[in-house]
Structures are given as structure tokens and as C-alpha cells.
């Protein structure tokens, strides 16, 4: 695979606040790469640096091995789908899509042909003369994509493009974007704060926090082998507890020693232990490796979400079996459900469900705009 974009030690400050701290990233041709992280993590800034809307304070950005630090946006073979589409309100659908061809002074005949192809690709045939401000969010989204793709860019940047759409439409557009990417073979760099979106669409996920890249990997790697407590917590639900790696394949946490599949740590090294809620089995107290008291049970449709107090630490368990609040239960964890991580700056910040509530989760997710 060919390397198309490379960021080397990119740093950026805004008003004395470090937004990007020495970012290194390689992006390969025809990949669907997602920059994932909470607002303020630097993902949008990274995208804007690639697009040419910001210049890094330090570091180099390469396009096919050539530095493009000083190349202005209009000379880069990189186009952008903006967060709120940024369609030109004074132009109709046709002229919006045709915009870059008009700038290049391409003959009208060819413009008509290519716009037609493009509108077919995004399923907007027949919308040519429509006013862009009259379109629905989903349709505006399609126009923005068509407009960015028509000049055959090598790379397409998408900045939370589905953020303004409702859930149902978002799912449809996810599939469609993936399809378009396959069809056109253009490298997509996609920015989102929605982990589900990232996991379902990407070839490569880049998890960012606090201006740094936390982990780069395939969606399954990121989910199954999170590198630190932040990644484990941000991607899906996780119980993250302090543990000690006694020896290879043996870890102690919550006062019990478990078999696990990890190795290569120092003897008795302090570690973070991740257990996904769906990997915890509810059993009787006698059979349990750990015992605790149920503090809350929420029906979630497919399963119950059970919060269990085990020695003062609140675990989240997803189970199809119902238990009563206040009941004492035991839990059982398979060795391959236990994932061991090195201690990091994020240790102890995440993975305890004692202050957990759905409402806080929602608030966290709605903080989408502009990071």
C-alpha cells in the first residue's frame, strides 16, 4: 500500500493552549481512516492542518512524500466536506456541485456531464435546479459530498459530516459513505466523536485525546486490545480496575487471582485491567469468583444493565438474566475476557460506574460541535 499522507511531529497552539502535541500519523492510499475522540481532543485541528486551513507551529505534513506545509488549500488535491456542509446559498445544487470545475474553467459540456454523474452517485438525480437552502439535512449532505468529490481529489476530509442528522438518516448515510468510498477509491479521513460510527465504517481508527494520539489500529484491535484506560473507556463500556500482574497469565484484582491470556509484564507490575460488561457472567454467590451487591438494574431491551458494588468498586454488567436490586450475586469472568493494560496518565480516571447515569452519558455525547 502506498503512503499518501504523513504527519511528522505536528504541534499546534491556540492562544497558548496546546491543541496538538507532536502528532505522528501515516495514512495509506484508498483507506478509510477515522479520527476519533471527545471534543477538544485535536481531531478537527488535525483535519484542518491536512486541509490547509491551519498551519502547524511545528512539524511537517507530507503528501506523497512532498512537504505541503506551505501549499495553500486551493492548491492541494484534498477536498473537504464541512461540518455544517458550507454549501453556497447563492448557488443552486448544480452550480454548487460544479463549483470547482467552474473555477478550473472546464468547458460547460463536460461540467454538465460530470455533475450529472456525481449527482447520480449521491442519489440526487433531478435536484439540479433546486435551491440548496431548501434541501433537507441529508440532501445538503449529499450535495456537499458531490461538490467535494467532483474534482477527483486524492483525499477527502469529512468533519463530523453526519453530526446534524437524525439517528436513522445517520445509519443510512454511514452505509452510503462507505459505499462511495469503495466505489471511488478515494482516501477518506473522517472526524467523529461517535465511537460506534468509527467502528462500523473505518479501516483504521485513530483515537485521540488531549492533543495526542492514544492508539492507531483496526476497529477490532481498538475494541479488543485498548492500549490504555482512556481508549478502553471511550470505545464501548468498560470496567477498569487496578490490578497486579503476578506473573505471565496470572493477574490479581479485587482480591482474587484470575487466569488471563496476557504476558510480558514485570513480575508484580501494577496494571489496569479491563473487563467488558458483556463478558461478565452472573452466577450464584457460591460459584462466583467475586461477590457483590446489586445497586441498580436498568432494562435496555436486549439485556439488563446491572450495576454491582464489589468491594466498593461499581462494576457494570450486561446480562440477559434479571436480578433484584439489593441481591447478592457472584460473577464469573473467562480468562480471554480479561485484558491487561500498562498504567498510563489516564489510570484511575475511568471505568468506575459509581457516578454513572444515562443522563451524563447523553450530555457527553451532545457536546459535538466545534472542538
Amino acid at each position: 500500500m502506498k503512503k499518501i499522507i504523513e504527519l511528522r511531529n505536528i504541534s499546534k497552539e491556540f492562544e497558548d493552549e496546546k491543541v496538538l502535541d507532536s502528532i505522528n500519523l501515516e495514512i495509506y492510499d484508498k483507506q478509510f481512516v477515522t479520527l476519533l475522540g471527545p471534543s477538544g481532543c485535536g481531531k478537527t485541528t488535525t483535519l484542518r492542518i491536512v486541509g490547509g486551513f491551519e498551519t502547524p507551529d511545528e512539524g511537517e505534513i507530507l503528501f506523497e512524500g512532498q512537504s505541503i506545509n506551505h501549499l495553500p488549500a486551493h492548491k492541494r488535491h484534498i477536498n473537504t466536506v464541512f461540518q455544517k456542509y458550507a454549501l453556497f446559498p447563492h448557488l443552486n445544487v448544480f452550480e454548487n456541485v460544479a463549483f470547482s470545475l467552474r473555477v478550473q474553467k472546464i468547458p460547460n459540456q463536460e461540467v454538465v456531464k460530470r455533475v450529472k454523474e456525481m449527482l447520480e452517485l449521491v442519489a440526487l438525480k433531478g435536484f439540479e435546479r433546486k435551491n440548496v437552502t431548501k434541501l433537507s439535512g441529508g440532501q445538503q449532505q449529499r450535495v456537499a459530498i458531490a461538490r467535494a468529490l467532483i474534482s477527483h481529489p486524492r483525499v477527502l476530509l469529512l468533519d463530523e459530516p453526519l453530526g446534524a442528522l437524525d439517528l436513522k438518516l445517520r445509519k443510512d448515510m454511514q452505509n452510503e459513505l462507505k459505499k462511495i468510498q469503495k466505489q471511488t477509491g478515494i482516501t477518506f479521513i473522517y472526524v467523529t466523536h461517535d465511537q460506534e460510527e468509527a467502528l462500523s465504517m473505518s479501516d483504521v481508527v485513530v483515537v485521540m485525546a488531549e492533543g495526542k494520539i492514544q492508539q492507531i489500529g483496526s476497529p477490532t484491535d481498538i475494541y479488543n486490545e485498548p492500549e490504555n484506560a482512556f481508549v478502553a473507556d471511550f470505545i464501548g463500556e468498560s470496567n477498569i480496575v487496578d490490578g497486579v500482574m503476578n506473573e505471565d497469565y496470572k493477574v490479581t484484582f479485587s482480591g482474587h487471582t484470575f487466569q488471563c491470556v496476557d504476558k510480558g509484564f514485570e513480575p508484580n507490575e501494577a496494571v489496569d485491567v479491563v473487563v467488558r460488561p458483556e463478558d461478565v457472567d452472573v452466577v450464584s454467590v457460591a460459584e462466583g469468583m467475586l461477590q457483590g451487591t446489586v445497586t441498580s438494574v436498568t432494562f435496555k431491551g436486549v439485556h439488563y444493565e446491572i450495576i454491582v458494588d464489589i468491594g466498593g468498586f461499581k462494576w457494570m454488567i450486561q446480562s440477559t438474566d434479571f436480578v433484584d436490586v439489593g441481591a447478592n450475586i457472584g460473577i464469573y469472568i473467562e480468562p480471554d475476557a480479561i485484558h491487561i493494560m500498562k498504567k498510563s496518565e489516564f489510570s484511575g480516571q475511568y471505568g468506575d460506574y459509581s457516578t454513572f447515569s444515562d443522563e451524563i452519558e447523553e450530555l457527553g455525547n451532545s457536546e459535538t460541535v466545534g472542538d
Binding site: G51, G52, F53, P72, A73, H74, I78, N79, T80, F82, Q83, K84, A86, L87, F88, P89, H90, F99, S100, V103, Q104, N131, T133, K134, R147, A148, S151
Partner: protein, 268 residues
């Protein structure tokens, strides 16, 4: 209550319009009498049009208003665009505060301050004609600038930053992006700024009075010099014509904005 408020409103409008209507009426008087209507005639209009001063002043007023509004619209729009890119609020606010001085200051002070500048410079360079069309033009551009910036700036501020970025992303140079994308977005503000500047320049008397040269007379200055002499209905005739012109302009601009509104409603 409703009836009372209607009477109140009607009364004020009547008082507001009586003097103007009386003046229009007496412009058709057959004699020089300004108290009694002695008969209808177009005598004073004929008198007015036979005077070369009138046409000269009309021409001067239009030349001045067009040049002042064009210059102030260009400089003011460029300034409004540039000001948004200032990184330090302090400098932006300082420039805006200075810009607004002619808007807040009494016209007489603005006029005098500029006259003092021109007179001083004229003395320094030993020029005989210290005040001329050009000093008048400078003065008019100066008091029009804040109004242009005032009408353009909000349009720039409300334009999403992503629009010019999108244009450049799609291959426009910054200059192309301004003309292809930004200007169409802020055009309503630019046009209303231009119209405002044009009418203000057309209407100005006080500042012109202090900054014009002897050989350059505008309509308001002509009216002033006419009212200094004996009262004759020829001023009434001139005023009537100006009021009619302003009314027509106002109705036209209202109609065009109505069309625009209708269009806007369609696009929503």
C-alpha cells in the same frame, strides 16, 4: 383605547405632513405671496428651470453623491472584511471607535474640524483655493464610511467561516473566493451601505457648508443660499421636486425589498 390611539397617530402624521403639503401647494401659487393662494400656475417652476444655478447644483449634487458613495462603499467594504481578520480585539475596537466618531459627533463639529485641517494644509502649501470639490468629497466619504461599515460588518460576521474555506478548498485563490463566494453573501449589506451613503451625501448640508469651495454648490447649499434672501416660492418649487424625487426613490426601494422578501420566503 383603540380609537384614542388611532386619533393620536393620525394627528401626529397630519402635523408632520401639513407643512410639507402647504409648501407643495404654494409652489403652484401664481404670485410671490407665501400666505395666500392667489391662483394656480407653474410660474415658479419655469423660473426655477430657467436658472442655470439649479441645474448646476443638481449636477454637482449627483456627481458628489455618486463619487462619495462609490468610494466609501469600496473602502468601507474592504475595511469591514479586513477588520474581521484582525487578531487583536484591541486594535479592531480602536479602529471601530475612531470610525464611529463622525456618526456621534454633531455635524457642525465634524464639518469644522475638517475645514480647519484643510485650511491649515492650504496655508501650509500656500494654496489660494483651500476648499474645493475635493475637500468636499473627502468630507462626504469620511462621514459615509461609518455607515457603510455598519451595514456590511454584520453580514460578514454572520457568514459562516466555512464558506470562504470551502471555496478555497475547491480551488479558489483567496481573491477568487472573495468575489465568487463572500461578496454574493454580503452583497445585501454592501448595497444598503451604498444606498445609505448615497442618500446621506445627497442630503448633507452642514458638513458641506463648511468644507466646500466657493465654486461648488450642491442642492442643499443652494436652498440655504436661497433662503438667506427674500422668501420666494421658487424654493418651494425646488423643494417640492426634491420631496417627490425622494418619495419615488423610497417607494422604489420598498418595492424592491418587498420582492426580495417574497423571494426569501420562497427559498425557505
Amino acid at each position: 383605547m383603540k380609537v384614542l390611539s388611532r386619533i393620536y397617530t393620525a394627528l401626529i402624521f397630519i402635523i408632520l405632513y401639513i407643512p410639507i403639503l402647504v409648501l407643495m401647494l404654494f409652489s403652484f401659487n401664481s404670485t410671490a405671496n407665501t400666505g395666500d393662494m392667489t391662483g394656480l400656475s407653474l410660474y415658479w417652476y419655469r423660473e426655477l428651470f430657467s436658472s442655470p444655478d439649479t441645474f448646476n447644483a443638481l449636477k454637482n449634487t449627483l456627481v458628489l453623491a455618486v463619487s462619495a458613495s462609490v468610494i466609501s462603499t469600496v473602502i468601507g467594504t474592504a475595511a469591514a472584511v479586513g477588520l474581521c481578520k484582525f487578531r487583536k480585539n484591541f486594535w479592531r475596537n480602536s479602529v471601530l471607535s475612531v470610525t464611529n466618531i463622525p456618526m456621534m459627533n454633531p455635524d457642525i463639529v465634524t464639518g469644522i474640524s475638517m475645514m480647519l485641517l484643510f485650511v491649515f494644509l492650504g496655508n501650509a502649501f500656500g494654496s489660494d483655493e483651500k476648499l474645493s470639490f475635493f475637500t468636499l468629497l473627502i468630507a462626504h466619504v469620511t462621514f459615509c464610511l461609518p455607515y457603510v461599515i455598519l451595514s456590511v460588518r454584520p453580514k460578514i460576521l454572520s457568514m459562516p467561516r466555512a464558506l470562504p474555506e470551502a471555496a478555497q478548498d475547491l480551488g479558489c485563490t483567496p481573491l477568487q473566493s472573495f468575489f465568487k463566494v463572500e461578496l454574493p453573501q454580503i452583497l445585501p449589506g454592501v448595497i444598503s451601505g451604498f444606498i445609505l451613503a448615497f442618500t446621506l451625501s445627497l442630503d448633507d448640508f452642514v458638513i458641506s457648508y463648511f468644507t466646500t469651495g466657493n465654486d461648488f454648490q450642491t442642492l442643499p447649499l443652494l436652498i440655504y443660499s436661497m433662503t438667506k434672501k427674500e422668501v420666494k416660492p421658487d424654493i418651494y418649487a425646488l423643494s417640492t421636486l426634491m420631496i417627490v424625487a425622494v418619495t419615488v426613490l423610497l417607494i422604489l426601494s420598498n418595492l424592491s425589498s418587498k420582492e426580495k422578501n417574497a423571494e426569501r420566503r420562497l427559498t425557505l
